[in-house]
Symmetry: C3
Subunit: 466 residues, 3 copies
């Protein structure tokens, strides 16, 4: 017998009846607010071309490393799922997923997917082996219709603004095309300089060359390199960017003298730097980016602590973003000091910190953000972008940093279809948390109502200058 798929209106709200009633009332006031998505990885080409998405596997399985990593962990070959293997039959790949959908019980992927299945595609039965083809056919057919094109979904999703993330050596042609098209959807870029900042990034020196070609600056000289950044940042800002994004292995910053930097930059650009020198260079560039942010007003985001591409054979065969980025212990207190000593007290700088190491929430991040004018805390991120993860974030950060040193929710995703589901989870969890505070008389009910609006909408707009 097939299992019914239905989304309960009270999902994720606390079980205690009085707390649930309060949470529901708060949630009702924010559930329909527009989506502010200031940090994410959707592809601007979707909105530029407004082409139909392909089949179910191509849209929902292939790009979502949250999903295929779990299947892989249980012995399914990535090639069979169509990862790095265009020859795989998408219906067969989809079936491998459908048969193992039970693996996702208790995970946020399950909640996001069920929302997409039920709300977007109108499915009324759960995904499983028996319904695999029904799902594949229904979804694939719907995707071919006009109502399921990227812009239509964007509008249906009530997205007020969405930021994508591009490298300085991206031409932003898609963003230009969106603007030229006359479509009213607000899709902006964000400046993610890792490919020209991280000496260990694939193709770093070639990237610098392209960086030079694009800007006309000598990016192999330190002053030219900085000028190129300034130029591209200005261009990105002209294409709507209000933020930069930095995906470093650690939170290390540095504050070297000009002579020291020049010497380091010479090594780095020669292609012969050590791992320690690469780290020091990344550290120094964060401080340089902060200096530029003070001038041009772009909000900085720092996402440290992921050991990228941990699985060497998978990386060698298939490249980045294959579900093998693993968090590591991350220090902020010592790492950020060089930057903070220089700019920490400057109200013009805004640096949003993320973490994959939850032990830093109460110990380091909340105390730092609760003191330094330039620091704010990004939401629970990546693996922690989940009901339990979001609760830990609020419970461990709020008492020291307050709510107003946080910046609302980021979906941080390339899984476009699930964006409303992700924001909805955050709204529900935040309303539940606020309801708990009211029930314990740690907040008044009217304060919780204000906060629900702030956490859902106002803080993101303010923090990201949107």
């Amino acid at each position: 017998m097939l299992s019914v798929l239905s989304l309960h209106p009270d999902r994720l709200l606390p079980a205690d009846p009085a707390t649930r009633a309060l949470a529901r009332s708060l949630y009702t006031q924010v559930k329909d607010l527009p989506i502010i998505s200031p940090h994410g990885h959707t592809d601007p080409e979707w909105f530029a071309t407004n082409a139909n998405f392909g089949n179910a596997a191509e849209l929902l399985l292939h790009p979502d490393h949250y999903v295929f990593r779990m299947l892989y962990s249980q012995g399914v070959a990535l090639a069979d799922l169509g990862i790095g293997n265009p020859a795989a039959d998408p219906r067969t790949s989809w079936r491998l997923f459908a048969e193992r959908y039970f693996l996702f019980r208790g995970t946020p992927s399950r909640m996001w997917l069920d929302w997409v299945f039920a709300e977007v595609f109108g499915m009324g039965v759960q995904l499983c082996a028996e319904t695999s083809d029904l799902y594949f056919d229904t979804i694939t057919e719907m995707l071919a219709s006009a109502a399921f094109r990227p812009r239509a979904l964007f509008e249906r999703y009530n997205i007020e603004v969405i930021a994508t993330t591009e490298s300085p050596i991206d031409s932003l042609a898609d963003h230009a095309a969106i603007r030229a098209s006359g479509w009213a959807g607000k899709v902006i870029t964000a400046y993610r300089p890792d490919p020209v900042v991280d000496p260990e990034f694939e193709g770093f020196r070639d990237n610098l060359k392209t960086f030079s070609d694009l800007t006309g600056e000598d990016t192999f000289s330190w002053t030219g390199y900085l000028a190129a950044h300034r130029q591209r940042r200005a261009f990105f800002a002209s294409m709507g960017a209000t933020s930069t994004d930095h995906g470093h292995p650690t939170a290390q910053t540095a504050n070297l003298s000009v002579a020291e930097v020049a010497a380091l930059f010479a090594k780095v650009t020669s292609g012969s730097c050590t791992a320690a020198e690469a780290e020091l260079f990344r550290a120094q560039t964060l401080t340089e980016m902060a200096a530029m942010s003070i001038d041009d007003g772009l909000v900085m985001q720092l996402h440290p602590g992921s050991f990228r591409n941990h699985n060497a054979p998978v990386f060698a065969a298939l490249g980045r973003d294959k579900g093998a980025d693993i968090p590591t212990r991350t220090d902020y207190v010592h790492a950020l000091k060089p930057l903070l000593d220089r700019f920490g007290n400057d109200n013009r700088l805004s640096l949003i910190l993320f973490t994959l190491d939850e032990s830093a929430y109460a110990r380091e991040l909340a105390p730092l953000a609760g003191h330094y004018p330039c620091l704010k805390l990004g939401p629970a991120w990546w693996f922690h972008d989940s009901p339990e993860g979001m609760r830990r974030f609020r419970r461990m950060c709020t008492e020291t940093a307050g709510f107003y040193n946080t910046v609302g929710f980021n979906d941080d995703t390339r899984a476009f279809l699930s964006i409303p589901a992700r924001h909805d989870v955050a709204r529900r969890i935040d309303c539940g948390f606020l309801a708990e505070l009211v029930m314990e008389h740690r907040l008044e009910d009217w304060e919780a109502a204000e906060l629900a609006q702030d956490l859902t909408y106002n803080l993101a707009k303010a923090a990201y200058k949107l």
Copy 2:
């Protein structure tokens, strides 16, 4: 006035009435399932000889370092408790414990012991100074009867299979005797090679000598050493072993060249290696064990992160296992990489990871297990084998690793009498956790019912190939 001792049928189930009702219903479906105990430290001699246990202190106090450590922490001399002191009067030792039973309020030891007192020995009043002799006499008298012999308890406890843990230089004579006896109880061994793998283990070189004597291999040559392992692993497998167990200080692995290993092994066996070389050798043996597991199918278990025998004077006077093993911060991401680079994508390998450092749950272990085909997560372990500890395990691991990258419960104990109590705690906590997910509409009720069976029984059988 004496206090009544009674075990409430709803103990450990969530307080919210609707959640509790749901949890109770799930628990009812699994509470009587047979016990699968794939990892523990009971003494096979008990089942081989089926001799009666001795007195209350000898059975319940002396071997349980969970218990005597707490008394020691509050100033009771170990000698007075009979630890390392055969001259101590067991009744007097028991009284020292009984008088201080209140120290265990809020601890899992209290729950396990109360279960043993009430369910096994039928006590109806709480242990305290006034009831000390009553307890001592009742328990000691019962232990002398046939119904309280090891095999009778094994059967009464509905244990389907239990694994003990032996060193490669153990003859497994007790296991042979159990088999020869014709008794149907399934007691199997597990291969724990620490005494011949860890150059810092007491008597390491003597152990290697015994290892050689037992196998006929030259265990002081690298190839002979490996051959001896292979031989003993095969013998252990023939005595029922389906797993190996590795109690290293860290999770470090290595992947040295044959020449490097040979040189390292020469140093190690010469008895003059440094601490760093000892660590590197342990690291390399983990990778060697993984290679053998791929061949012979034994499931690996890695239990890192305990600073063993931290109390130097107590260790000098009384030896190992005196309650002074203290957890330390443990890295997995960097430490496991050498092994994972070599075997991480091999579906034939199964490596179960445990931790004493809960900060690794959500940060490292769940992401690793949610990606690598060879990795699974062992249950909350040792100090964390407790209601709050188990809840943290589920809350921090499930969203990223799912339920199906976990392996059910291990009691990991030498306290034989408490084994059903320990499994019962795990069943109650898991059912409570599942009920919470259902209440928040993160799972369907029928899924929770399936999961309750899986977490209690199926996952352990599958993961340990039982």
Copy 3:
């Protein structure tokens, strides 16, 4: 419209109705017990002179870095708040605070302040821009009256004993004056030797000189230095001290030979020691202090893990205690071993451990305190001295260390007016935790009632020998 300010009688008690009823009943039994404050930073001069406090800003804003740090993090200049700026108008500073009182939603500061506003000053409306002057005037006027002098408040607060914290080079003149005054309030000192123990403390060598002048010992010789400590400890004990307090950057201890120490001390006193030598010296002094504690019975307290004065420009301009002390990762297992190897098994020593790194609770601190006779756990400290922080402390420590290796609550504050509010939060959270254990049948109700008394009153008196 102004918002009502009223303190709900059930605040901080668990939301589940049955659990709340139980918690309320426990709380009712302990809420009026006298306050034992064995560790804090009130100024003995207040009780010596019994002078009236000044205005609202001077009393509630300027000394409370919990409060002004949050305002600073949101861009308010410290000078405008009157921090390090006597020229600031206190009414204007207060207004900056009042306008931003919403920033404290969800923080413990908000709860403590609301208690002070409502209970001490009888305010019935919430603090905000509109009520800023009303608050400032009401509070300032009340502070001028006899009923709001320090001794009157001390009595009104039902404080049985309060400890202040002084340096060895403090004359304790205020304490002498209190005793000479004939007032019955029990205000005792505690021995905090950081200024003469930490070579990196401001003015270390001058401090040693004063130490010498006060004691007549040659504090620049190792034996004279130790003798000076012994002498001042005895003097502090004569002024009521029962404890010492050590605010080190790490928990490192050492056990050097006399010759090694003498050589190290020579370097340290020459003013030319390295950071590593300073750390080693601090480490060695902890062990020396332990030796002295065994002789004179003073209870040791170790508060490691704060990166003091993290904000270099703020420290340069305004000095210590400006809200920029940031917690760091802290190891206990390796760090404490030298001291524990020497004195860990000595029942005469009592060493109370605190942490700012909650990841150490279940991993290191509870296992250590659950074994070593000399160790006990201090309460949730500083940033963790909050509802969620206290819950994490109980949930992560109790199962391994039990309740009886903890020492009750410390308010640890210089915010005198909020002391009852802080103890009240602890009592409510502890009663809530106990009620949860009873609801889950992990404790009997009569045990919870006993524990509530112990956690509130008995454990602090016993642990601090009060």
